[in-house]
Amino acid sequence: MANVTLTINGQKVTVPSGIMVLEAAEMCGYSVPTFCHEKDLTAPGACRICVVEIKGWRNLPPSCVTAVAKGMEVETESPKVIEARKTILELMVANHPLDCMTCEKSGSCKLQDYAYRYQVTSPTPYEGEKKQFAVDDSNPYIYRDPNKCILCGKCVAICKAVADRNVIDYAFRGFNTKIATFMDTELKDSACVYCNRCVSICPVGALSDRNMMGKGRTWDFTREEVTCTFCDSGCKFDVNYKNGKVVGVTAKNPSAGRPLCLKGRLGTEFMKNADRTDLPLINKDGEFVEVSWEEALGIAPIVEKINALKK
């Protein structure tokens, strides 16, 4: 593919043509905030936090859906850009339950990170009505708090990416817009199979892994990446340890082609369970007793003979 040369923050750079300004800026080491953009999955241009200034352009275009062009002069952090990003964050914060101290997402929340980066705090200049939706705690796997949702739409995109799923979409209009299941039911009454793809991609605390709630702050955990062996998809999960003990298994970003599933996640969790025995049990006089594999398989005499021969 041909290359194009453009200027980013005063620096002349040459990048492959056809890529977006966001990618080009990241290649040059500039960090551009994003909520709704997810590489290889979706770029709806919805959240507008990634806007940049391009010389000669009328508006501030979102860098995630603006392709690089020859001679472009991009500013990723100009005063106008900062003002716009700050305003967008203030608008989000004004309509967000600021319970960060108990929020499961605290520490890995993009809204929190960007609010810190652009020094946005409450009260914003835009205080007013706040969303008052019912929380969905209808099932043991996904906890949904639509009041924390910033409507980036990534959960919708990732759910749609699996054939037969398509459980959630945008519903209602204007300020009342929310992400809803068909007929706006709770998840337990929907076609959701709790694969947690949506949870793995949510940038804020709107979707949480129910199983991990209350078990610790995100910075308390050390994580071990494991590959699920239940089928040949090879999905990745994180085994979360706190103080050396496994507290739960969470779905990792499914990336292209990997479905994630409840079976894989629970199965992996089961395998990593500290209480799990690694010896077989057999029924002796009406009671299950832990025995050796040799005994359970009835091969103790053979093993004995082999061991004897080894000597």
Binding site: A46, I88, Y170
Partner: protein
């Protein structure tokens, strides 16, 4: 062919139908038969005349007599007096405002005199449900010329030469748009018509759909030929049942005559047209949302590029124009681009249809050449302000437009001059306001509309317009603080700069434009806690002027809050702490003794 000595045209547009024109038609038909005139006089149901306020409208030809607000009881008199004896029924003629002079002829009425009808050329003159009437008015001749004598490239070039710009609001040059779509490679392309007219008070597209549907079909077919499309959609709002019905009739008739479908007019060119009914979302007038809606998805805009000309409906190159744009096309090819370009200004060619509403003496649809002054539209065609009140502003461009004050009324109207004034052409809605309109309240009204119709996708529009609306509400409630003006301006600017689609990018316009020209009204609300126009009830106080009060007690009896007290035949008093500002007392008082302010 049966020849008639006269024609009676009864308007069958939605406006006149709702004021009873269907019944008029029925009674007229019976009356003509009764008086043995049915072989001499032909009764025709037409589309909209644009002067809906005066409906039901009946026009008698060959004289061109314009009867307005005709009632069922008037029919017998029209038939026996006018049609039989040739005497015009004076009392049913249009009376010019102010002078009260009766105007017998259609073309002498000030409302029509200044107009130049290109798009609406057939509306109100032909029966829209008979394709022959359209053909008799040179219909489908432009298409015949295109299909038999021109290459698609020549069609595109002719369009570019005409200088026609999109009438949906954006004002993008139509020829250029067609060129993009025609140069886009691919065997499958779509031609789409945006008939999702949603601006409050605008009904020019409905008028064309109901009154002259074939001009749209012909325009779309010429466009399809130019870009290489063999299929098309007309996205029409479901709230226009009559328009949909007439479109269906028009499509069926055109197909029957070989003017639509396979091998049109015996040529190699084939094109199918479908109707897709909208589901009531204003944002579906935005082209990417419109295409998403046709595809069966939620009507939400998508970022451009890719533009529809490259990746449109079902990812195929597509061209979208609105009804009024397409309705111009047949005329361009019939008379040539040069002739079309003689009308209008240097950068805006042709005419524009405006929907005049608000505090005007004459309201309705008016088609005028580009470049005409707003003053002419408002004071000559519109007849000036109702009840001799003072003009304050004209809101132009629909809910995303801006308000233009008196000092700019002489600006020639075109796309660019309106943008420069902080308004926009939009679809051509024109709401005239007099001194009794509060500009803060007006801004709040329009913002409320756009906020409710926001699709909810992008943050600035979804959250930002809501906050602007809350601030305006606060100001109207008398709780505004001086910083609110700055907040409105900075937030408005960010929304304009960062919103995804045209709806969001223009949503702050009504606020920003009123702040530009009527800042003092905002300041009066905030600093003096007064609404100068006397609209915002929270800022009003009702008082009784003792000198005028006769002590009749009518106000006290009507007051639902028991706030008015006083002795009989003595001046009464209003207890402002009890008063709920409903205004019932003012309506009741015969002596103008109660004032608000």
């Amino acid at each position: 062919m049966q020849l008639y000595r006269g024609h009676v045209l009864v308007c069958g547009g939605t406006g006149c139908v709702s004021s009873g024109s269907k019944k008029i038609q029925e009674v007229m038909a019976n009356e003509l038969t009764k008086q043995n005139l049915d072989k001499e006089i032909k009764l025709v149901e037409t589309g909209c005349h644009g002067f809906c306020e005066m409906g039901p409208i009946v026009i008698v030809y060959p004289e061109g007599t314009f009867y307005c607000q005709v009632q069922v009881d008037d029919i017998a008199e029209i038939v026996s007096e006018h049609l039989l004896k040739g005497r015009i029924v004076q009392r049913l003629l249009f009376k010019a405002p102010v002078t009260e002079e009766q105007v017998p002829s259609y073309k002498d009425i000030a409302f029509y005199k200044k107009q130049h009808r290109v798009v609406l050329r057939n509306c109100g003159h032909i029966d829209p449900e008979h394709i022959q009437e359209y053909i008799a008015r040179e219909g489908y001749e432009g298409l015949a010329k295109v299909l038999t004598t021109m290459t698609p490239q020549q069609v595109v070039d002719e369009m570019k030469k005409s200088g026609l710009r999109g009438r949906g609001g954006g004002g993008f040059p139509t020829g250029l748009k067609w060129e993009f779509a025609s140069k886009s490679p691919g065997p499958k392309k779509y031609i789409i018509c945006n008939a999702d007219e949603g601006d409050p008070g605008a009904f020019m597209d409905r008028s064309v759909l109901e009154g002259d549907p074939h001009s749209l079909l012909e325009g779309m077919l010429i466009g399809a030929y130019a870009i290489g499309a063999d299929e098309g959609y007309i996205y029409v709002r479901a709230e226009y049942p009559l328009a949909i019905k007439r479109l269906k009739v028009a499509i069926a008739q055109a197909e029957e005559l070989g003017l639509l479908g396979d091998n049109i007019m015996g040529t190699e060119f084939s094109c199918q047209l479908h109707i897709k009914e909208g589901a009531g979302a204003f944002v579906c007038g935005e082209e990417t949302a419109l295409m998403a809606s046709i595809e069966g998805s939620r009507g939400m805009p998508n970022p451009r590029p890719p533009f529809p000309a490259v990746k449109g409906l079902w990812e195929k190159p597509s061209n979208i124009n609105n009804v009024e744009t397409y309705a111009n096309v047949p005329v361009i090819f019939l008379n040539g681009a040069d002739q079309f370009a003689t009308l209008g200004t240097e950068k805006s060619k042709g005419t524009k249809v405006f929907a005049l509403t608000g505090k005007l003496r004459n309201t309705g649809l008016a088609e005028v050449p580009m470049g005409i002054a707003l003053r002419e539209i408002i004071f000559e065609i519109g007849g000036g302000i109702m009840d001799d009140k003072k003009f304050k502003a004209v809101q132009i461009g629909g809910p995303s437009g801006g308000c233009i004050p008196e000092q700019h009324l002489d600006t020639p109207v075109d796309y660019d001059s309106l943008i420069a004034l902080g308004a926009m052409m939009g679809s051509g809605g024109l709401v005239v306001m007099d001194e009794t309109s509060c500009m803060v309240d007006v801004a709040r009204f329009f913002l409320n509309f756009t906020q409710k119709e926001s699709c909810g996708k992008c943050t600035p529009c979804r959250e930002g317009t809501k906050r602007m609306l809350e601030i305006l509400q606060k100001i109207c409630d008398g709780k505004g603080v001086p910083e609110d003006i700055t907040t409105l301006e900075t937030l408005g600017a960010v929304i304009k700069n960062t919103a995804l689609c045209g709806l969001g990018q223009t949503a702050p316009n009504p606020v920003l434009a009123t702040l530009r020209y009527f800042r003092h009204e905002y300041e009066a609300h905030i600093n003096d806690k007064k609404c100068p126009a006397g609209v915002c009830s929270a800022l009003l106080e009702y008082k009784i002027v003792a000198d005028n009060c006769k002590g009749c007690g009518a106000c006290a009896r009507v007051c639902p809050a028991g706030a008015i007290t006083g002795e009989k035949k003595e001046p009464h008093e209003i207890d402002t702490s009890k008063c709920i500002k409903c205004g019932s007392c003012i309506e009741k008082c015969k002596f103008n003794a109660i004032v608000k302010g």
